[in-house]
């Protein structure tokens, strides 16, 4: 049997090497919120004529509006600006058409700033609620707070990895986080705990049958569930990679977040939650031993 638990420190170091830089960027440059959270307008158009993005920017400047205009394909532009009224939308569409020829609106989204703040609050609440429900469920299933705590720590790990990776991506490539990113975080949490429960189930099963030490039980359970955990993650990763390559631009951030989440979720279940449980058991056993000594 492979002694997985012997390399605890290495697993924790791997996690730290991802979380460390992630948290650094999270604290320094932070996440780049999309208009979902800040309010604003996202407008993608395709024109008939070749035109510079600067020319389109001037259209907005002429109306005293700050706008960011990026090319997003052939004769195609992605415009980000402040929240617009429908009358402004119609007027600007006309002005843009004067420069770029007849324009086709690929998408147009506008959100007031109030709604953004509200959404952010709701999103955070959803994450807290999901975490609480899962903690209670795991603690109830395993009749042991240690299991619940280990599962939550693994979930915290995954959340930090995801937020950190996207802080880095935001810093390097301007990747934004939106409502779907929050959805991806929640989905990751449920995946992560899914894997964690499978390993914990096995630990409990072996515990019932034998009197082995916790480390040995943890090793055996890890060995027995690792293949299934990897296989399952692989099938999910196959689907996500296919979506990432072929699924088109608008889903890329979401798919990317789910992919990062699946990888970290798989890792944290086996290599964080189980060793954490081992550490916990060791400490609580030492404590109880000391207690016995004192009694005598």
């Amino acid at each position: 049997m492979i002694n997985f638990m012997k390399y605890k420190l290495i697993y924790f170091l791997i996690s730290l090497s991802v979380i460390g830089p992630g948290v650094f960027f999270l604290l320094t440059s932070g996440l780049k919120p999309s208009i979902d959270f800040t309010g604003g307008t996202l407008w993608e158009i395709r024109g008939e004529k070749e035109v510079e993005s600067g020319t389109l920017k001037e259209v907005f400047a002429a109306q005293d509006l700050a706008a960011e205009v990026q090319s997003s394909g052939e004769k195609q532009f992605l415009i980000k600006t402040v929240p617009l009224e429908e009358s402004q939308h119609v007027l600007l569409a006309e002005k843009l058409a004067e420069k770029a020829g007849e324009i086709e609106e690929i998408r147009y989204e506008t959100l007031g700033p109030r709604l953004g703040a509200e959404l952010l609050r709701k999103a955070l609440l959803a994450v807290v609620l999901a975490t609480a429900v899962i903690l209670l469920y795991v603690a109830y299933r395993f009749k042991n707070l240690a299991y619940g705590a280990a599962a939550i720590l693994a979930m915290l790990h995954d959340t930090l990895v995801l937020l950190g990776v996207f802080a880095i991506l935001g810093f390097l490539f301007g990747v934004e986080v939106d409502t779907l990113f929050v959805t991806a975080v929640l989905t990751t949490l449920s995946f992560s705990v899914h894997d964690t429960i499978v390993v914990f189930d096995r630990i409990r099963e072996i515990h019932r049958k034998t009197e082995l030490s916790y480390e040995v039980v943890a090793n055996q359970a890890t060995e027995e569930t690792l293949v299934r955990s990897l296989n399952n993650s692989l099938t999910i990763i196959f689907m996500l990679v296919a979506l990432l390559i072929l699924g088109g631009e608008s889903l890329r951030t979401f798919t990317g977040a789910l992919l990062v989440g699946t990888v970290t979720g798989t890792f944290s279940s086996t290599f964080n939650a189980v060793p954490l449980l081992a550490v916990w058991e060791k400490f609580s056993r030492q404590r109880s031993l000391r207690g016995i000594l004192r009694l005598r």
């Binding site: 429908e86 939308h89 119609v90 609106e105 690929i106 998408r107 147009y108 989204e109 506008t110 007031g112 109030r114 709604l115 959404l119 709701k122 999103a123 959803a126 609620l129 999901a130 429900v133 899962i134 469920y137 299933r141 409502t179 779907l180 929050v182 959805t183 929640l186 989905t187 949490l189 449920s190 995946f191 705990v193 899914h194 894997d195 429960i197 499978v198 189930d201 027995e224 293949v227 299934r228 296989n231 399952n232 692989l234 099938t235 999910i236 196959f238 689907m239 996500l240 990679v241 296919a242 979506l243 390559i245 072929l246 699924g247 088109g248 608008s250 889903l251 979401f254 798919t255 789910l258």
Partner: protein, 369 residues
Amino acid sequence: MQGGLQVVLEAQMDEVGEGDRQAALESAQAVIERRVDFLGVSEPVVQTSRLGDSYRVVVELPGVEDPAQALSLIGQTAQLDFREGDNLDQRTGLTGKDLTRASVDFDQTTGKPQIALQFSSEGAKKFAEITARNVGKPLAIFLDNSLLTAPIVQGEILGGQAVITGTFALQEAQQIVAQLNAGALPTPIVVLEQRQIGPTLGEEALRKSVAAGLLGLGLVVFFMVGNYGRLGLLATLALLVYALLTLAVYKIIPVTLTLSGIAGFILSVGMAVDANILIFERIKEERRWGKDLATALELGFGRAWDSIRDANLATLATVFILFNPLDWSFLVTSGVVRGFALTLGVGVLLSLFTGVVVTRTLVRAFYRK
């Protein structure tokens, strides 16, 4: 998926009394529904939601041809007015402003639903004059320039209280009342959020998602057969059953397939084989521990069940929070998030069935030495 418009509108309630706001919101909804019908969109959604002091109407119009026109139509404040004359086209000067409110009432003797109108003092004066000169003739009520109802005036009505009797079904009466109130409690509407997707993006995204789904499915099948041989082949069959069932469910509960919804579906295919992987790994183990094939097969299904159930319950809890079926206003009610939660949730439930029951049946029937 064919593109379309989604708007979140807020009804401005500053002029409406605290107690009438819910009714005013329902009226705004009724009026918007009426206007949406006029647009001829195939599967429109018009829902109300309330968050604190903010009264909202969410409108989804998949495949609408001209979103700008649709929006300007939806966003108008309701115009109610009373008309007379042979062709019912002469304005009487009595409008929604003069109407205090409308409500559903029941005839004391027959118990049939009827519509009660309450006019303001100025409205009562105008109404008395109008009814006096129109006895025996119809008096038409127009909402947004289209005819709502045209009851016959039975006699001069003084005092500003009137009832419209007729053979209304209760629901019909309620609907007319809501529309009358839209004129009585006019609420200007502002756009809080607007999302529109052109038909190109819709089509393109659909095509790409289908390609991605097929590629992913191919990889999963390849992997399962490579790893578990004949069992993997049976799992693939179960996966096909899963895909067909899912599509059938989408037909029954009309899911507006958003991009995120499609992502949820594609993801659920990856997860659908999870139960099979758990079971097959368990079977392998039982074989390793020296059980014969038939016993290992049965034990594999039996013993893997605990893990499968626990793990999927956790996912379902998350789906519940994301989908927010009870419309708790403190949680996300965004259509994008819901689309994802719905397809993921349907996926988890169906995959439990196909991954365990269907695969077991297939294995019992076909997996023999």
